[in-house]
Amino acid sequence: MHHYLISLLIFTPLLVAVVGLFIPAKAEKYFRYSTLGVNLFQLAVLVMMLMRYVTEAGVQFVEKKSWITLSLGSWGMLKAEYFVGVDGLGMPMVALSVFVLLIATISSWTIDKNVKGYFLLLLILNAAIIGSFTALDFLLFYLFFEFMLLPMFFLIAIWGGARREYASIKFFLYTLLGSIFILIAMIALYISVHDPSSSGQLVHSFNLLNMTDPTNFISNSVLDPNNPWKIGPLDARLWAFLLLFFGFAIKLPMVPVHTWLPDAHVEAPTPVSVILAALLLKIGGYGLVRIAFPIFPEAAMHFSMFIGVMGVISIIYGGLNAMASKDLKRLIAYSSVSHMGFVLLGLASITPEGVAGSIYQMFSHGLVSALLFLIAGVLYDRTHDRTIGNYSGLSIKMKSYTAIVLVGFFASMGLPGFSGFIAEIMIFLGAFKSNSVNGLLHESLAIIATLGLILGAAYYLWTLQRMFFGPYDLKGNIAHSSIYDLNNREYLMLIPLAIAALFFGIFPQPLINFIDPFARNFSEFVLSTGKSLTLNP
């Protein structure tokens, strides 16, 4: 049974979605409860997985079925597999996904426009997200990756706010551009890599684990590490890395390819914002760790300074933009840009601390950003106005809400005791240490990045001061009757996230047990392989 746990996670929502197609749209209750049922079922499966997971054992719960096998004559064989599994990187991400998707379903309860369509799309999205976090075959990953776009596009375009069409098209085009980059790199990889397990015939495969081994590259192919093609000024391998990097950086998002994010967030309905911030952004970081870095380690080392600088730019630039935002949701969106910059900085250091910190940051940001977008959603549900300047002294009327906001804001600031602190301290230590250990990043990057912490405190405190403290007042067309404190459903979705953020801030070891072995192997592998490849030009 436990050999199929991952497939259960991926296909249950799809199956329920297919069944749902034949249920009349009038049965709104059915769609809500069946989606919730799927989430709870996934939670149960997740618990089973966590119980059976062995922290030091690498990739686990592997399922490998042949999927597409196509003979191409003299070109050899095309082989794509249904190949899924989780390791110290995938497991935390899957856990985060299951948890956040459950919360997102709870927060979707108030959706009343075309309920059937909404929940079916949510189920498809669910399957695609978990699929991308578990796929170990590049073609399969790409399929899930693209598969996410479509439900996302419709969820924003149909259930979104006033400028939803603009935002959804922007989102779609941006991500599509990233997908094309990834597609090109994938095809080049597919041409260059053969499956070592098949003797005799040349078999091209999409197996991600095979791609990380430099000996699996066909000699004189495009991306042959010993003799790569030169395209313009750079090796083809460096180009391929850049394509993957930008493909995933758009998703992450990294400045300057981030502008889809604020618009998409501002226009998306709350649950979709939650999924977008907590999970979809992580696929960018996940892709870098899973695909770009280990397959092209020498390119990762070559560009690490560049990546680190881009990370720091994202941190500062996102923070400044957040400070200038007048819309609460926009502010949170830009703070996401700032926080994901830390992920880049930590990865670029390729130290165990930095990489572990990056993964921890992805996990922690998943919790905290979900909390923050729900917070913004609570207010928007009541007043349909997110302008910071239109509120003042909300703490007087909404006591519990203010308490949750305080938790969310301070968690996002990286106050010790919350998960973000552990992540950021590890990233800082890793990034700073990098110069003396592997010489990849300069110390100044970490020092400049501390400015991001000050900026974070500045924009959150300023928002608190403007919206929640001071005398109670409302401006604009907000009815006073619309201001009331949290209800039970809102507690149900906010409290678990707040507790989780607090738990992983005080007791980081349970999560680090998953991440740490992976991060150590990863940084060691990337550094040693990267060095050996640059030595043999």
């Binding site: 630039y317 400070m323 165990p352 110390e443 912490l453």
Partner: protein, 625 residues
């Protein structure tokens, strides 16, 4: 036995019958702190460690590292906190946020104890920031006051700026030693070049927390919080944390770093003392005096005597808490009297006060006692600890004239000014004739408020330091101080004369006169400078960046989108006009041709004959020519 203190604090956070339970918990913890102090004092350090989490290959622990300094601090923190808790039950009675208040007060004490007991620098940093958070909540306790919210934000932000420096120091230490453990770090003997940078980075954190130049302006603003909170912040928690940290990690500091620390300390001490001279808000005078005293402690640490600094921290904790609580009484009873009499004036403004010795005799005596300690009068604790600091600086300055002499002289000037502003408070608030308060029915506050004040005032006399009122080598200093003794009896003698002179000056010159200076009132315009040099530019930068985001990046996206759409339109036109046009053209050509040729076969005999004749003619012409 120590974890008991910590857990007592945590469980207290969830108690509801707080006004009763919270002080009780604090009493328990103060008692256990006393026991801890008794067992640890003068003994070997006590260490307990639990594994917290691993970073890379290193296992980070969370634990307790208890030596003499921290034992002393535990005692101060719990004792003062207990007294403040008791006092608060009277002061905050009837406040609607009282649960929040007490839970944050408990959390504040807990975080401060965390700093004091933590065994690793990382853990110190964790609690360091938590103290910042707790102070944010407490300073901003009266949320609906915009000034309180602004002051709270400012306090946290200034601390954050210092903490960023602290964090950089942590990174340096981690990179160079691979450990945060205090006991391990203490073993590092050689002086490496990174140590200067690292220790100065840690000192940045101290500047934020202990309100040293240039990060000092948040502390006077923080007076917006409830007065007991101010007492706690100024005496036991928060600002004391900085001095404590320096004393705790003094083994890290290199001579260069110590010089910088001494200079920063003395600059702060002078600036704050001067500013305290001209303030009119009683709490602000006390706030500036705290900054000034902290500056002296920091100078002492810079001069290499953390024992003297700790001694002053110890005595300062009692008399400053006492002063704040007295000020709190004045504010509290006048507020109540105002509510009864339906009048309103600013009770914190000392220009409105006067002659309160008649209506508040108890407070008057307590204020005199604590104030004398602050001023450093002989027979008070402040005299001895200040003496220790001056002796330390005197020993450090050397016999040849150098810039260190300036520090030495400045320290004396600061102690002179301290006397003047202290007695200015006493003259204007308690002596003379009653001013705005004349008609108010002022009565002494309840016992829960007077009790703590009485204790603190009694603790301001010399006996808590040593038996000899002119020699500071008592039970505290001798244990804390290791290394060679430097003694100058002459310093005590000079101090006595000097202080007497200062008291005389203050009595004869400043009893009636007041100095006013806009520059000093605004604390050298530091705030204005920060707003215009840092605050506004960063906001402008923020809006500029947002402009870049909207216009440049999005603009580029839009332009490329428009370009695509335009290209698409052009291609569409090309498709219709040229490609389709060609196809259609060919089609219509063939249609014309078809029509023409079809017309050949229209079945009309006459046409056939016509074509035939034309063909014959053409043929004839072609063959003939």
């Amino acid at each position: 036995m120590v974890s008991f203190i910590v857990s007592g604090r945590i469980s207290e956070k969830y108690s509801w019958a707080v006004t009763f339970v919270a002080p009780l918990f604090l009493l328990v913890s103060a008692l256990s702190a006393g026991y801890v102090f008794y067992t640890i004092w003068g003994d070997q350090p006590y260490v307990v460690q639990w594994s917290w989490f691993t970073i890379g290959d290193t296992n980070l622990s969370a634990g307790i590292y208890l030596n003499n300094i921290s034992a002393l601090m535990v005692l101060i923190v719990t004792l003062i906190s207990f007294l403040v808790h008791v006092y608060s039950t009277g002061y905050m009675a009837g406040d609607e946020g009282i649960t929040r208040y007490f839970s944050m007060l408990g959390f504040f004490t807990f975080a401060m104890l965390g700093i004091v007991l933590a065994d690793s620098l990382l853990l110190v940093f964790v609690f360091w920031e938590m103290v910042g958070f707790a102070s944010y909540m407490l300073i901003g306790h009266w949320k609906d006051k915009p000034e309180a919210a602004a002051a709270a934000s400012k306090a946290f932000l200034f601390n954050r700026i210092g903490d960023a420096g602290f964090l950089i120091g942590l990174m340096l230490i981690w990179t160079n030693t691979g450990t945060f453990d205090l006991a391990e770090l203490a073993k590092v003997q050689d002086i490496y070049s990174w140590q200067t940078t690292a220790s100065l980075c840690l000192f940045c954190g101290v500047m934020g927390k202990s309100a040293q130049f240039p990060l000092l302006t948040w502390l006077p603003d923080a007076m917006e919080g409830p007065t007991p909170v101010s007492a706690l912040i100024h005496a036991a928690t928060m600002v004391a944390a900085g001095v404590f940290l320096l004393a705790r990690v003094d083994f890290l500091f290199t001579p260069t770093a110590l010089d910088v620390i001494a200079i920063v300390g003395i600059i702060t001490a002078c600036m704050a003392a001067l500013s305290a001279l001209v303030q009119s808000d009683i709490k602000k005078i006390l706030a500036y005096s705290t900054i000034s005293q902290l500056g002296l402690m920091i100078t002492a640490i810079g001069a290499g005597s953390s024992a003297a600094a700790m001694l002053h921290l110890f005595t300062h904790a009692f008399f400053k808490a006492g002063l704040f609580l007295c000020a709190g009484i004045v504010i509290h009873v006048l507020h109540q009297a105002q509510q009864q009499a339906h009048t309103h004036f600013n009770v914190q403004d000392i220009r409105n006060l006067g002659g309160l010795r008649k209506k508040l005799p108890f407070t008057f005596v307590a204020f005199i006692l604590s104030g004398s300690a602050l001023a450093g009068l002989p027979f008070f604790s402040g005299f001895l600890s200040k003496d220790a600091i001056l002796t330390a600086i005197a020993g450090w300055k050397g016999s040849d004239f150098s810039w260190r002499w300036i520090v030495f002289i400045a320290a004396f000037i600061v102690s002179f000014i301290t006397v003047i502003y202290t007695f200015r408070m006493i003259w204007t608030v308690f002596m003379g004739e009653e001013k705005s308060t004349a008609s108010l029915p002022v009565v002494e506050p309840p016992l829960v408020m007077r009790g703590p004040v009485a204790l603190l005032a009694i603790a301001s006399v010399w006996l808590i330091v040593s038996v000899n009122p002119f020699h500071y080598h008592g039970w505290i200093f001798n244990v804390l101080h290791s290394g060679k003794h430097f003694d100058l009896g002459i310093i005590s003698f000079i101090s006595v004369l000097w202080i007497t002179l200062a008291v005389a000056t203050s009595y004869f010159i400043f009893r009636k006169k007041t100095i006013s200076s806009e520059l000093l009132l605004n604390n050298f315009y530091l705030d204005k400078l920060y707003t215009s040099a840092i605050g506004k530019p960063s906001l402008r930068l923020a809006s500029m960046v947002s402009f870049v985001d909207r216009k440049c990046i999005d603009g580029f996206i839009h332009v490329s989108a428009y370009a695509q759409v335009t290209t698409a339109h052009f291609i569409g036109w090309f498709d219709r006009a040229i490609v389709d046009g060609t196809v259609n053209g060919i089609a219509s050509l063939s249609r014309v041709a078809g029509n023409m040729t079809r017309s050949f076969q229209g079945g009309k005999i006459q046409l056939y004959i016509l074509w035939a004749i034309l063909a014959i003619i053409i043929f004839l012409i072609w063959t003939l020519f």
